[in-house]
Symmetry: C2
Subunit: 314 residues, 2 copies
């Protein structure tokens, strides 16, 4: 495969445009006052199914041949990608097989079923997930789509920053959370293409700082434990996301769990929008390093708003 390149993003955007929302960019005077920066929030919590994952899932599906699509698609995910692929597949008349760990919250299983995805439960280990996905692939001929490492998924996720920089070309920074790395890799590609002066910075919890350590060591690091409220960020970088991040991203800011909850509360209380903990990580990073960002135009990608209201940290 050729190296991933931001020049592919405009075409990707044109293809997925009919299937996604162009999400609004919000600002808050109070948050500007608190942080001392000029902050712009790209609200992917208002994206279809409630997260940016809809972009990558749609692009990956559209990149398959008609013949491939007829055989369906398969993924393993307990989070937003499972719902995104289900909904995108439904819109395109494709069958979606979703492998989910038996421990996945009911609310997420419900979402997948509601969007028309077919759930296959497995043991909550990476091995069991891979085995189940492989079995489905072999039996049905379905194409496997990885939630973050698939190249077409990465390009699709980059369209959020593509819209963002069209609306606000003069951002100094874009901050995103980092889990599997699909969002930040796509964002970095979009920024490098549209305006290389925009610096893309990653944010992640200290509890799962695999991306921070990977950038230090020069190889993909894992997490020995994943005890964080930011449930979307427990995964590690992949063979396609890591090289892009290594090339373009110079900095990862790490934050404490209390800082995540505080930032989440600030967004909920002051902006009156619902964001998931993973999204609050980026604002927490900005607040932690507020001296660094003082007076700058900082874009934050609010990755999603899918929260279990019965299990809030407040």
């Amino acid at each position: 495969m050729a190296e991933l390149n931001g020049t592919q993003i405009p075409q990707c955007y044109e293809r997925i445009k009919p299937y996604i929302h162009r999400t609004p960019v919000l600002t808050s005077r109070l948050i500007n006052t608190i942080t001392g920066a000029e902050v712009y929030f790209k609200c992917e919590n208002f994206q279809r199914m409630g997260a940016y994952k809809m972009r990558g899932a749609t692009h990956a599906l559209l990149s398959l041949s008609e013949e491939e699509r007829q055989k369906g698609v398969v993924t393993h995910s307990s989070g937003n990608f499972a719902q995104a692929l289900s909904l995108a597949a439904k819109a395109l008349g494709v069958e979606a097989h979703i492998v989910m760990p038996s421990t996945a919250p009911d609310v997420k299983k419900k979402g997948v079923v509601e969007y028309g995805g077919k759930i296959y439960e497995c043991e909550p280990t990476l091995e069991a997930r891979n085995a189940a996905a492989n079995e489905i692939q072999e039996r049905t001929g379905a194409a496997f789509l990885h939630p973050s490492n698939d190249p077409d998924v990465i390009l699709g996720q980059g369209t959020a920053a593509y819209e963002f920089l069209q609306d606000h070309p003069d951002l100094d920074y874009i901050l995103t959370p980092v889990g599997g790395g699909g969002l930040i890799a796509g964002t970095a590609l979009a920024a490098a293409y549209l305006n290389p002066k925009v610096e893309v910075i990653g944010t992640e919890p200290f509890a799962v700082d695999d991306a921070y350590r990977s950038l230090k060591s020069g190889k993909i690091e894992g997490n020995t434990s994943t005890n964080t409220i930011a449930d979307g960020l427990k995964t590690q970088l992949g063979s396609n996301t890591f090289p892009v991040i290594r090339k373009y991203v110079k900095r990862i800011i790490r934050v404490e769990e209390e800082e995540i909850v505080e930032a989440m509360r600030l967004i909920w209380e002051r902006m009156k929008i619902i964001v998931e903990p993973s999204s609050a990580v980026a604002l927490a990073g900005l607040q932690r390093e507020s001296t660094y960002f003082k007076g700058k135009k900082v874009g934050i990608i609010i990755s999603g708003g899918n929260v279990d209201l019965a299990r809030l940290p407040f």
Copy 2:
């Protein structure tokens, strides 16, 4: 005083415009599917200080003479009007005296202080509130502004519907919650002026159905108990709001407490915006009477988004 009239609203709007946000109107495909109606949400939860009350408070202040403003203003409120008056007064350099019952939640007192209002605590009875406000009025010469019954407040609240009908002139209905009646009276005046074909309907909890009973009996009724989650709707109609409501509003839909919580959950989970229980009452009313609204264009005024996150009903 001359009869309140919608023709006064455009001028009112021009005056308060520099001090308020023009709030967005949001839609949700899923909520349209669930209700069978075409629903438009006027998002006053995104208004400054988080509620439509900012409009009326600003208008009432601007309607005072320079001399009156120099003596300050006083109100009694434990809710959004206290914060609205504090913030509007701050913007205009006016001193705001806020009488609050000692039982008011800390989060609301905090809001008032943050916006620069001066709090006077009193016993949680209507008599004590009036007495405290009177005392301040006599001592300082401050002008008393009622949270819902003041004519200039009513006109100010009407600017939400004024913007709403400018953006969506072809609504069949506008639904609002009813507490003291300021919002629905202002809305009815705006609709009568801009498009008399728009029917304005009130919604309130069965637990505090004083407006419903007032329309039936032809006189202002009170509530013997106020046991509802919709904390903004416990008050009763006033001498200025009731005549307007009686003239223009033909129908009040009452809803159960569980219906309010369900509607609130639906908005939070699907629209990813934070609305207070009082705001969810309008959607609950639409859902309860969905047959009536089937296929119609229904506007809902989301009155506010000030919620104590530590005390959610989920």
